[in-house]
Symmetry: C2
Subunit: 327 residues, 2 copies
């Protein structure tokens, strides 16, 4: 069990330092920060709940803290913005101790460096199950912000990286029957890499007409970037990028080798749309940042998501008009 007083002391000691833009950090009624004049302030919040989003025995406190931050800053990156500050609300259960807290703090400090953010505040409570709620504050120039809603019929649909690895890694993590667990896939689940530099670059060069980070699987998130305009998309399954590890291991779990790549979730890759004439710019960014970017289809005028199989057969997913509370 964690004693609040000593927990707060640890936090105060380990986080208190001068940082750019932080007028007032941890320790007052509220934190006070500065953003660049004229910029929009981006905010988003995401929660990791024990036994809902993670199993405590399968992830270290450092990994957990880092992942909670990673998936939240990912949302700011998907707007073309820059994450700046985080607030962490943590509910500790009776089974967490001082050592756990110290490791959690280490995870937060590591992610401050990795993602260029400062932890400026938060809250500690008791809770039956451990939870971590991260709010990220970021910023973006008004004219550069990339919404979910800007896709136009005819735009190409792109994704970064490879899809399905995280979902497959999770299956391996949770299934004791699997003998040859693939560590690369498991790492993709425990240690996701938000595409901050890519999101920013696509915004700075005004390449993306719409963008989202894939957190609930390609198909669902594809709906989200097209649903606002009544448009849809035609996706070629054969173009969906998967990793060597995914290709090697997927057969153990499902007969449909695309299943986890199109609906697995937690990829945190960027899904974006862009006019065809920007394809050369996208190839350049891909080379410069050394990030694989793949065109997987086109935005269409009707409101269906059509999946074209290798044999040319089309499966249509009706739009479900999905809305996201936020972020």
């Amino acid at each position: 069990m964690i004693d609040e007083l000593s927990a707060l002391k640890s936090i105060e000691e380990r986080f208190h330092r001068a940082s750019k833009g932080v007028e007032l950090g941890i320790g007052d009624d509220a934190a006070a920060v500065k953003f660049h004049s004229g910029n929009l302030v981006l905010s988003t919040t995401d929660t990791q709940v024990e036994d809902v989003h993670f199993v405590k025995s399968q992830i270290t406190p450092q990994q957990l803290a880092r992942k909670a931050v990673a998936v939240s800053v990912s949302d700011v990156g998907a707007m073309g913005g820059v994450p700046r500050f985080i607030l962490a609300s943590v509910g500790f259960s009776r089974s967490e101790d001082k050592e756990f807290l110290d490791k959690l703090i280490t995870g937060f400090i590591n992610s401050e460096q990795e993602f260029g953010v400062d932890l400026i505040g938060g809250n500690l409570s008791s809770s039956e199950k451990l939870f971590i709620d991260i709010t990220v504050l970021g910023e973006v120039e008004s004219e550069l912000m990339v919404k979910r809603s800007g896709a136009n019929p005819g735009d190409s649909v792109y994704v970064s990286g490879t899809l399905g690895d995280s979902a497959l890694g999770l299956k391996m993590l949770l299934n004791d029957q699997i003998r040859n667990k693939n560590e690369i896939l498991i790492q993709k689940h425990l240690h996701p890499l938000p595409r901050l530099a890519l999101g920013r670059e696509l915004a700075l060069k005004k390449i993306a007409t719409s963008m989202i980070d894939i957190s609930d699987g390609l198909l669902l998130d594809l709906e989200r970037v097209t649903v606002n305009k009544g448009s849809g998309a035609k996706i070629e399954l054969s173009k969906i990028p998967t990793s060597k590890e995914y290709d090697e291991c997927i057969d153990q779990f499902t007969d449909n080798s695309y299943e986890l790549a199109i609906s697995g979730g937690e990829d945190y890759e960027l899904l974006f749309t862009s006019p065809e004439e920007r394809s050369e710019d996208i190839r350049k960014i891909s080379r410069d940042l050394n990030i694989k970017i793949t065109e997987i289809g086109k935005v269409t005028r009707d409101s269906n998501i059509d999946l074209i199989n290798i044999d040319g057969k089309i499966t249509t997913n009706k739009q479900r008009g999905f809305v996201h509370f936020n972020n």
Copy 2:
């Protein structure tokens, strides 16, 4: 049990509307908002966890949502700032249903109006116990911000309203033995009134040298406003303002009639310090806003909190060097 898809639909429908400063509200990866140029952005987060901060049978969903917002905006008020936007992270247990969600949303909408804020985002998860985590974003002019750390020896110590009512109300709420429950005290607990207008006025007129909202009891929060400078305070117990209802009911619970007034918590009254020469300005604000403001003692040069009893006896509370994670 709440179905996420329909929950999100309800939220989208009930919150989506144009609002000042909100460039992009619920429904994208992150919300995008504007603050007044040059202002500091204030942020703070606070969590209400079932069976830790509230018992579900004792509070309506509307009251719960409102209270979660009220205690969070209170922190922004205590900086002299203006709350503008909120993000709500809610963890629903299996026992919440659509009706509960609708009432919770009603509570959020009511508090948007009451506190002048817009709900711009949030997150829904499952959870074993219900929790609500509210992040508030507000703003304050850099030169007007009131920190906890500005108290000077010789300053007078003031509190708004009356203290101990909420803690006494909570005792009544939880104790089935009490026959004559006092509804006014219970309301003080379920429906706290953050002193936003007062905090703002004290900042605008540069009256307060330090300020905090009393959430953990007068004594603890008194430490927080003096601890940074090695100063302390001398408080006259007889001056501590209590309500008629408190005075009538407190004897049922304790022999020390000041106990809950000095350490009960959840008052959300403002505790602030100010040079003696501003006392007339404070009386004027008290009249103008119709809020009782009471001088209860002085800031001293040594680092003790001295409580002067009615018979002149002094009890000394050693500073515990308490730090607050934030907010």
